[in-house]
Symmetry: C2
Subunit: 221 residues, 2 copies
Amino acid sequence: MAKAARKYLDAADREQQILEFAIDFVAQRGLRFTTRELADALGVSQPLLYRYFKNRDDLLQKIYDEVYLKRWDPGWNELLADRSISIRERLVLYLRAYTAAILDERWIRIFIASALEDPQITQKYLGLLHETTFPLIFAEIAAEAGVAVPSGPKADELVLEIVWGFHSSFFYMGVRKYVYRNKIPDDLDPIIRARVEVFVTGLAASMGNLGQFLPEVEAGQ
Amino acid sequence: MAKAARKYLDAADREQQILEFAIDFVAQRGLRFTTRELADALGVSQPLLYRYFKNRDDLLQKIYDEVYLKRWDPGWNELLADRSISIRERLVLYLRAYTAAILDERWIRIFIASALEDPQITQKYLGLLHETTFPLIFAEIAAEAGVAVPSGPKADELVLEIVWGFHSSFFYMGVRKYVYRNKIPDDLDPIIRARVEVFVTGLAASMGNLGQFLPEVEAGQ
DNA sequence: GTGATAATTTATCAATTGATAATTTCCTAT
DNA sequence: ATAGGAAATTATCAATTGATAAATTATCAC
């Protein structure tokens, strides 16, 4: 209560307040905002921003750091690798956690807007998925199906693309909701379950035949 | 040749030239461009833009019209409905045409950027997919598998979500390539074939079981 | 309470920006 | 070749914008 009534906040509190507010603000407005608009909306003077942030770009950088950090739970990969549970169950559990983390207006809109502006910002996050999580998902489905993972560079590529297609469909729900402003179902559980079912069933059944889609030279590997 | 040497273009030609150039320019730069930057890049004076476009927003509107119109081929839905071909083949043919049309830097980046700015701009295009193409894809897979399409509002929703997940994975390749600037395979054909195989196989095999993911009240329908 | 200090605002600048008006340059019909 | 009109540029404006400096106000230790 004491703090809420204060007009002059501690520097640390004010900085945090501005940052939090700016995240929401930028999520809604995009990168096309002026420092005055931001300050007005927050109810402080425009030069005050420059006490806490070197300049406009510095504020944006801090926004990205705040939004992207702390969103990735390293435990997810362990969960996906835990063979005491069926792969369908693991995927459902993982995707529940994943969608809960990223299906957030600020996360989705700032992710897309910043990637449009400068793809490097989102590179690190995407690398995590691409290098670790995707191969893991594919390998675990293959293991449970008792099928060998196709090997070779073109096969690796194809495998990654298949998982990309599956995995991105969940991020894309966020795009539909917070970028396109489409209505999406409130309860994601049936969708997660159904998509996992279709994907795992389809992949397990057709994994042995994927070789036919590869170029001749590698098809036999 | 004659026209290329002219300094003063016919009004219609100049307007078209500015518009084409602006599409590339905006695709790369996003909506945060100034009329001077655009004019300088094109090599004309900044006020010239105002001879052909009422104002900055008018130019943007014309860009959207030019980019979105003429991209949707009504023949695609007919193709998807043509039962003289297997549904796998139809999907492959459709997705080849679809990806060829939309996996274009200008289309993808302007689509995303404009949706972030104002979702209404992309609404009409998305409605076409959602209302017509998606139900059609699901129905045709069900027909070939000899399974009844689940019915009821929640089932309809689930069906749409399943197809959304599949279909959007192709648009999303464009996002990866032109927004995230990730490398994606040059040859999409194996990916299209593999994803179609996984999806159709998985959906045909599990369609009868989708009811289990619906809420109790409707599960029996 | 009072003064020192930190937090905030007001005042202000130079550069940028969308837009308009005045002027100049090019093209074409005759 | 030239006059008239269309096309384009130069000049300019008022508003906006990121950023800084000076002045003011709140808070806290004593």
